[in-house]
């Protein structure tokens, strides 16, 4: 399942997205272990079946 968390870095708001199953996530054909985006961009991710690298 995709998890989203609001976090703050240097006073700026971000959205951290990751898989609670330890899987890579994907957006527009690019895969990430986790994705941290500035708040307000509305970037959506899907879960892959590839395990994240340790």
């Amino acid at each position: 399942m995709i998890i989203k968390e609001e976090i703050e870095i240097n006073g700026r708001q971000f959205v951290k997205t990751y898989s609670d199953s330890g899987l890579m996530i994907e957006r527009e054909g690019v895969q990430y272990g986790e994705a941290i985006d500035p708040d307000g961009f509305g970037r959506e991710y899907t879960e892959t079946d590839i395990e994240v690298e340790e």
Binding site: I9, N10, F14, R27, V30, Q31, Y32, G33, E34, A35, I36, D37, P38, F41, R43, V52, E53
Partner: protein, 262 residues
């Protein structure tokens, strides 16, 4: 008592003996003729056998010569191939080719190989500056350039593929990485524990993807010391809002144009 024959009886008796002798002689002659014929036939057979053997021996000899010639050509080809690769390999012996096809390559069990001095430095942890001009595929293999205690600078002119896990990790003196080419992504922990790494130049006209902020764990880009990423002016705002790039806690994005790296 002496029995005297008449003249006519004597002549008759003599002729009878002559006839008998003549018959015997003729019989002997006939026997010799038959024996001679048999001997003649045997001699012809032996001559045929000898001729056949000569032919077969000639054929065998021709075949051996042909095979020897073919083998010599094969060995010659091998020698040429070895000669072709002698740029990188220095033979420690010679291949002996003889007409009967025996050869000895045991001396080739050992060979010295010339490798680029940069690779020697890499293997000996002596590498200080790494400049890669041609497209190579090392980037796809984890940790290839990691744990270089003296590596300070990396310049890649024509990158390709995704930079693999920990590619440059654990290089304590690495300070600057300058990349141009088609590569589009950093995998996990590429620069982890590069405590001196504070300057990254990305010259491509596209935004690189990043596995996660863990790509830069324990580097000045995250640990508060401060790192700078130089990118094309046209991409500056994209990097500042890009996934994960924008979340590097102590990173400044500057344009290449107008900088000392232009």
């Amino acid at each position: 008592m002496i029995n005297l024959l008449s003249e006519s009886a004597y002549i008759a008796q003599t002729n009878k003996i002559k006839t008998a002798i003549t018959n015997k002689v003729n019989a002997i002659k006939a026997s010799f003729t038959r024996i001679g014929a048999k001997l003649g036939a045997n001699i012809n057979w032996l001559e045929d056998v000898e001729s056949t053997l000569d032919d077969e021996l000639t054929a065998i000899n021709t075949e051996l010569v042909d095979k020897g010639s073919t083998q010599a050509e094969d060995f010659s080809e091998v020698a040429e191939k070895i000669s072709d690769i002698q740029t990188g390999i220095t033979p420690t012996g010679q291949i002996a080719i003889t007409q009967n096809g025996t050869y000895d390559v045991t001396d080739y069990a050992s060979a010295s190989v010339d490798v680029p001095s940069e690779l020697v430095k890499l293997l000996n942890n002596e590498l200080v500056e790494l400049v890669i001009v041609e497209p190579v595929y090392y980037y796809n293999h984890n940790t290839v350039f990691s744990q270089q205690p003296n590596l300070e600078k990396v310049v890649i002119k024509n990158s390709s593929g995704t930079f693999a896990q920990q590619l440059f990790a654990n290089c304590p003196k690495l300070k600057i990485v300058d990349i141009d080419g088609d590569s589009r992504g950093f995998n996990n922990a590429v620069f982890t524990n590069d405590a001196s790494f504070d300057t990254l130049i990305l010259r491509a006209n596209h935004v690189w993807s990043m596995y996660g902020v863990t790509t830069f764990n324990n580097t000045p880009f995250r640990n508060g010391t401060g790192g700078t990423v130089y990118v094309p002016q046209a991409l500056l705002s994209q990097y500042q809002n890009a996934t994960n790039w924008s979340a590097l806690e102590s990173t400044t994005f500057l344009p290449i144009e107008g900088s000392i790296y232009e």
